[in-house]
Symmetry: C2
Subunit: 290 residues, 2 copies
């Protein structure tokens, strides 16, 4: 895995190279948030589904990078003062604390745009052809847009400090969290030229691990250790946030994590290849303590 992560980092670096041009500052701001050595969960999923569907890793690399760019942009804009107003991100000052709000806004815009430039790059056209690249980029746009991630952010703003039904919570988390994971998994299949049926199975896997991930997050905010998590706990209760735990209680919330994880594993039955990595991945998410 370490070798694969290195290849992902190298590709990201290649797609957003350093520059001495007059737009150096915005490029630096983009690189600051993109090249931070994260876990690259989404990129790894894109590559895993591509190889599961019989493709080579290099066929999925532009799309793996594109999804990480969309993720990075969403964090930059989410941290801005008019949104969550977060000064820190993964133990480092957030983008606007380093570069200022104007450049952080532009860096987010630049990364979102760069995601599509990358998914539709000469490299993407070379490894999978323009038609397949178009299909993958279309999925990315749908999942990232107002009926996807941006919509989830909107629902989050709408429902702040309100008790909402479980269905609304699910719609918010599907938007905010699951949609990018869905795009990651689906694009891997599309890059490999998989049938629509497999793309749909990857979508189902992703939706369920995405929801399980978010519910587990809510649980850890109550039961987790601040030290292990590397962030403060008890934040949801402090802010009177409506979460799966506040609506269902700890036990039923974990039961829902387990149910969604089971659904994710069932979705993998559609694939004939070796799904061990993706099964482990789902089960580790369900039981994670950090």
């Amino acid at each position: 895995m370490t070798e694969q992560l290195k290849r992902i980092e190298a590709a990201l670096d290649r797609f957003v190279p350093e520059t001495d041009a007059l737009y150096k500052n915005v490029t630096d701001a983009m690189r600051y948030s993109l090249l931070n050595g994260g876990k690259r969960v989404r990129a790894v999923l894109t590559l895993a589904f591509c190889t599961l569907c019989g493709g080579r890793e290099e066929m999925a690399m532009p799309f793996a990078c594109a999804i990480e760019m969309v993720h990075a942009y969403s964090l930059i804009h989410d941290d801005l003062p008019c949104m969550d107003n977060d000064d820190m991100r993964r133990g480092k000052p957030s983008n606007h604390k380093v570069f200022g709000e104007s450049y952080a806004l532009l860096a987010g815009d630049g990364l979102l745009t760069k995601a599509f430039e990358t998914a539709l790059s000469a490299e993407a056209f070379r490894v999978v052809g323009p038609a397949r690249a178009a299909k993958a980029a279309a999925v990315l746009a749908e999942c990232a847009g107002e009926r996807g991630m941006v919509g989830g952010q909107c629902i989050d703003l709408e429902t702040e400090n309100r008790v909402v039904p479980l269905e609304t919570l699910r719609e918010k988390d599907t938007g905010k969290t699951a949609n990018l994971i869905m795009a990651a998994c689906m694009m891997g299949c599309i890059a490999a030229g998989a049938e629509d049926e497999l793309v749909e199975a990857a979508k189902a896997y992703a939706l369920h691990i995405g929801l399980a991930f978010q519910i587990r997050d809510d649980i850890l905010d109550v039961t987790g250790s601040a030290e292990e998590l590397g962030k403060n706990i008890g934040i949801d209760a402090q802010n009177n946030r409506c979460t799966y735990v506040s609506l269902l209680g700890l036990e039923k919330a974990q039961a829902l994590v387990d149910k969604y994880t089971a659904s994710a594993l069932t979705a993998l039955d559609a694939f004939s290849g070796d799904t061990a990595f993706l099964r482990d991945f789902a089960m580790q998410l369900a039981a994670r303590s950090k």
Copy 2:
């Protein structure tokens, strides 16, 4: 032209429909800035180059809408307090004054994403095929990104309140203004399936009318009538902005407008069809008083 504008407005309305979903607010904010009955200069250019290259208008419509979405997003983000902090846009309150900063940020993000969703939509795939749609969307991403429009915004921030060489001014205006016009014209040719040589000619036309437009803007800030322009004049001098007029004087600045316009007209020689509309368009820009 009025009929064509109606078709553009109808298509924009179709691509970002009203909704009662939980993400209604961000959709409303997107529609507020997108469906404002602007002149649709960019969309009209996309359609004009498509028909000039032998395509049908409907082949270029998704791309014409995509470029208007990118334009609308750029204005929303540009008006935000951390950028130009403009309360008004075309005689109406700017997006964040109506919807608040959070929704304005998301509306911009949503429109930028929707531009790619539209250029890679089922409709786009149906009218020109996914390969051609991919090529057009790739041009859009390049022109809108950090080496294009976002880069131009960055250069603008860098050079605020500084006297800069003419070359820097040109690079800023190419980024901020000419790039979207370039994408508009090139995508029209690509939608029609034109040869690369014609796509390049459209790019040259667009670059030169874009630069001429911007210089004419600087001139009108000195010589124009506030009433006719519908905005205050003398703003550049007030803010000590470095412009073509402050660097060259009025006469030489207009000579540059005329030179760029001549270059734009020359670029049209590559096309065998009827270029009368595009010639008139370039000449009207060069002489406009509003």
